[in-house]
Amino acid sequence: MDFADISPKLTMLVYGLVAFAVVVGGLLLLLDVVPSYFARRRERQLIAVAAGEAPALPPGRMHKPREFGYAIFFLLPVVVLLLIGLVVPVVRTLVLSLKNGDGSEWVGLDNYGWMFSNGDILSVLWNSLLWVVLVPLVATSVGLIYAVLVDRARLEAVAKSLVFLPMAISFVGASIIWRFVYAYRGEEQDQIGLLNQIVVWLGGTPKQWLLDSPLNTLLLIVVMVWIQAGFAMVILSAAIKAVPGDIIEAARLDGVSAWQMFWRITLPSIRPALIVVIVAITVATMKIFDIVRTMTNGNYDTNVIALEMYNQAFRYQETGQGSALAVFLFILVIPIVIFQIRNLRRQREG
């Protein structure tokens, strides 16, 4: 690598930083200067009115419009970017899903019909279903069990950090880590993958783990669980620690066993956190893409919706079919959105 290669990149970075300073600094400066200019002008007018040189101003009209003006300025970048980057594209994708591959003709619901009749896509949908059922269930259970265990353990902070660590690793990095675990060498050679070595130690024969369906999908799910369990554990552990001590004390005085304590006291108390964890992991799992792409590239019957959507739209240039898959993904999360908004409104009222 020599400097000639990176200097245009660093130049771009400098442009970006300058743009940032100009936009954010400029907005704040504008917000400071313009209102004080108006305030001064109004002051001058008031003085003029007091001196009897000008007609009286309509009273009390200044306050509200000015608040609104401020709100617009403060919200402007976010609202404009969200409109350009999310709202309009979502509508466009809905429209594109009703058109053919290059967007030139209307095809009605054909793309959706294709989705549910094409055998390959149906197996993609089944795989996705497997992911969405298993990952939240297993990751949350593991996280919950670990949170309960670690709550009574010494070295709690270290143990939690280690389980939480995979959250910092990219899905691509995690996929490489696990591909190495699943690596295969012929029977006569030494194994380099840990899983096959364990099999050999136990007296079995090594396998090409990622080739057989549906076992390979389950092994990819393990990677996602490995990443998400730490997330579940951290949130649930905080919730467990927040269970009021007097409730626990009262239950203990009543002679409740640890098992009953868990089901009757801990679990109901952390229900809101549990729901949040399940929802978050479910949404993340629906959009799973990187792991499947890096581990198997969707081959050997491991494909999922998000990867198929990417392939259709960006590799085969079938934007219609790709959009239909995206819309299907969107429809799947709509119930979650509604559920979340209802929660939010209840919280804000309560």
Partner: protein
């Protein structure tokens, strides 16, 4: 922010004094068993990463012929893999140093823009009174869950073909080439980050004491002044956790980079390059292990040193949602 830190509750003191001797013994055994099991699980969770790290330091022929656990009986260390994967000149080596720079150039602005914009919006949605405020907030909140996939195709065509309505060109194509493609990556990352960013910061900003704002207004401070001098200093911890989130998300992202940065060495980040190496040279473990570790090391450092902020952000970001 009082509500965000989970207070250490008196469970510990209640646990410390069981009523009977038998209870105390059982309690101690319980703790010991829990400690052993939880450390076992923690080790199990770390072994895959650890194996990768050890392997990345072993010579190529050792990686390819023996398992990394044999390292302990036959230790041989080398930095050759890192040298090769970062700076190697041949096309088959990773040339990751280049991509590392790309990752940095992509990440820094993609973190700064959304954090700044979201802070402003969160202030407006909490402390400026205007009609429809509730609906704007709920709209932004709902956008959090919209899958990125819904936006990718149109946003890419927005950059490459511009916007036209009924034959009338409202905005020409951006015509970005090579390094200029960074701009569209920044733009995409910023847009996609905003809903969550606004939501997270709003949770903090709206809990600041109202009397503080009221007092400042009575003193004649304008909204920008309150925002700069009162709100920003008070929400620094929240800004820190959002920054970490966004950093990890952008640095680790593959999908957005694949689509908006392309695969070339001018703009593609580490993740794209690694995925490519894994696809085309899946058995070159000396490159994959060291390459993966190159991409992991920065987020790991950030994560381990700032874990406190990260966890705090996670708790407000999700538990309250």
């Amino acid at each position: 922010m009082a509500a965000t830190t989970t207070p250490a509750l008196p469970t510990a003191t209640a646990d410390a004094m069981p009523k009977t001797v038998a209870g105390r013994v059982r309690r101690r055994l319980n703790t010991r068993a829990a400690t052993v099991v939880s450390i076992l699980i923690a080790v199990l969770w770390t072994v895959p990463t650890f194996g990768l790290f050890i392997s990345s330091l072993r010579p190529e022929d050792a990686i390819k012929t023996t398992g990394w656990w044999t390292f302990f009986s036959d230790p041989k260390l080398t930095l050759e893999n890192y040298n090769e994967v970062l700076f190697g000149q041949s096309a088959s080596s990773g040339q990751l140093a280049n991509y590392f720079v790309n990752s940095l150039v992509i990440t820094i602005p993609s973190v700064l823009f959304p954090v700044a914009f979201a802070a402003m919006a969160a202030y407006a949605l909490s402390w400026i009174r205007f009609r429809g405020r509730e609906w704007v907030y709920i709209g932004i909140f709902a956008l959090q869950i919209v899958p990125l996939q819904m936006a990718l195709v149109p946003l890419l065509s927005f950059f490459s073909r511009g916007v036209s309505l009924g034959g009338l060109t409202l905005m020409p194509a951006w015509q970005l080439e090579d390094e200029q493609k960074f701009i569209q990556v920044w733009f995409a990352h910023t847009c996609f980050a905003l809903p969550f960013a606004v939501f997270l910061l709003h949770n903090f900003v709206s809990q600041l004491p109202g009397e503080l704002m009221e007092a400042a207004r009575v003193d004649g401070a304008s909204h920008p002044k309150i925002f700069r001098t009162i709100v920003l200093p008070l929400i620094t911890p929240a800004l820190a956790s959002l920054t970490i989130f966004q950093f990890l998300w952008v640095w680790n992202d593959l999908l957005v980079a694949l689509i908006f940065a392309g695969g070339g060495d001018e703009t593609a980040p580490l993740t794209v390059r690694l995925a490519e190496l894994a696809g085309t040279r899946g058995n070159e473990w000396q490159r994959l292990t060291s390459g993966a570790f190159v991409s992991i090391v920065i987020p790991l450092i950030v994560f381990l040193s700032l874990q406190r902020y990260f966890v705090r952000g996670l708790l407000t970001g999700s538990v309250k949602g």
